[in-house]
Symmetry: C2
Subunit: 228 residues, 2 copies
DNA sequence: GACGATAGCTGCACTCAATGCGGATTTGCA
DNA sequence: TGCAAATCCGCATTGAGTGCAGCTATCGTC
């Protein structure tokens, strides 16, 4: 492999070897076929063989693209990490570690292509209903946390050790996740509603960390409630 | 099934139907056989058939005792929940929700037969090394969180709604998990030191939820450093 | 443009977890 | 004692995932 780490998601397919372009097209085809089938027959009701057939590849080939059936639903290298890293990198001089994390979380929510894509919506639904998928999601979340904690620790070497950073990040993410869990219980499958729920969850979960003026902001935001 | 919910773990086998006694003996035999084999050949290197043979039952029967191979490692209904429920039940009149959770955490830490049992030690090792087991563990943790949040919400109806309670519990558990993840990685096996660093990390991460005097307490505690 | 090296595709056979079924056995209880 | 229910367990089956071996398509080079 001549290229070190391919810029997996962003760059268009121009200037890539034919092999590589073909490979990505197949990859995309697999994902699309799978999403189609999952929505039609459900996750458990769809076999890998079904997906392979729909994507017009051999069953064996599927596993050279995705290590497992769940992997299919978590294709992109986690955007949460990049958001957090960016927030850390662009921190102001008197930002506390908690401030940085707050900004990171808001960013994730803001530029959440997370929500728009069909895969993302499906994923969220399946995380709720299929234990195997949920397990995989939690695992990835934990990995992301650890990575973010590493960066945060590096950015604040004087006030945070590795353990403290991990605890702080864990507390943030845990709060949001916990709140979201309850909120999603009462939400249908409407993506817009889900997005709104996420926002609510963050406001509720992170309130204790907000400084006074931020709390007012949060209240404003939840009061205006712009419909779409 | 004449008995509603059997008091699974605590009560001895006296005064139980023969069937029930037999069943528990087999269950225990399965667990012991499995632990033996896992330690000898590793988790993945041991098949369910192996376990069944060692426990002198049919392979098919295994699955009438445990729904899956992982389930084997999480037999007891979560002790964390009971600890938390107890802490909530015995709360003082001016305990804040966060105080209660802190106490629950200390209790879990204190009477952690968690640590002594052979199964528990093995489980901890496997959670770290086998993704499937880790997934199952995370899942159970999330369930426990939700249950605790429900109780907490019921205990403080005026100050916590469901979402707020879930966020609070999530933050606690998230902080512990995050810190523990790092602590376990740096495999210093001194439990006392680990417990201390865990407390410090928690105090720091959860500061926003603690009252002023608690913050002082936290500082005191980390200063005096009582070695058990 | 031909050619050898190599990456990727695929069928086949295999292991293992997990489930359904149906018959045999044991236990509870009247 | 005898019937009903719980339990056990072999057998067959499905589906995920892997290793292997052979084939084809692509790449870089001359």
């Amino acid at each position: 492999m001549p290229i070190g780490i391919p810029c997996d998601t962003i760059c268009g397919m121009a200037e890539l070897t034919l092999r590589e372009r073909k490979r990505r097209r197949t990859r995309q085809a697999i994902i699309e076929a799978a999403v189609e089938l999952f929505e039609e027959r459900g996750y458990e009701g769809t076999t890998v063989a079904d997906i392979a057939e729909a994507a017009e590849i051999g069953t064996r080939t599927f596993f050279s693209y995705f290590a497992s059936k769940e992997e299919l639903l978590f294709p992109e290298s986690d955007s949460r990490i990049t958001a957090a890293v960016e927030a850390i990198a662009t921190r102001g001089p008197d930002d506390r570690p908690a401030d940085v994390l707050l900004r990171a979380l808001r960013n994730v929510n803001r530029d959440s292509d997370e929500m728009v894509s069909r895969v993302a919506a499906l994923r969220l639904r399946l995380i709720r209903s299929v234990p195997a998928v949920r397990g995989r999601g939690l695992q990835l979340q934990l990995d992301a946390q650890r990575e973010i904690a590493r960066h945060l620790c590096a950015a604040y070497p004087d006030e945070l050790d590795e353990v403290g950073a991990a605890a702080l990040v864990g507390a943030f993410v845990g709060a949001v996740t916990g709140a979201l869990q309850v909120l999603l219980e009462t939400a249908g499958d409407d993506p817009a509603a889900m997005s709104r729920r996420l926002q609510e969850a963050m406001d509720a979960a992170l309130r204790p960390w907000l400084r006074e003026q931020d709390k007012l902001h949060a209240q404003d935001r939840s009061r205006e409630q712009t419909p779409s």
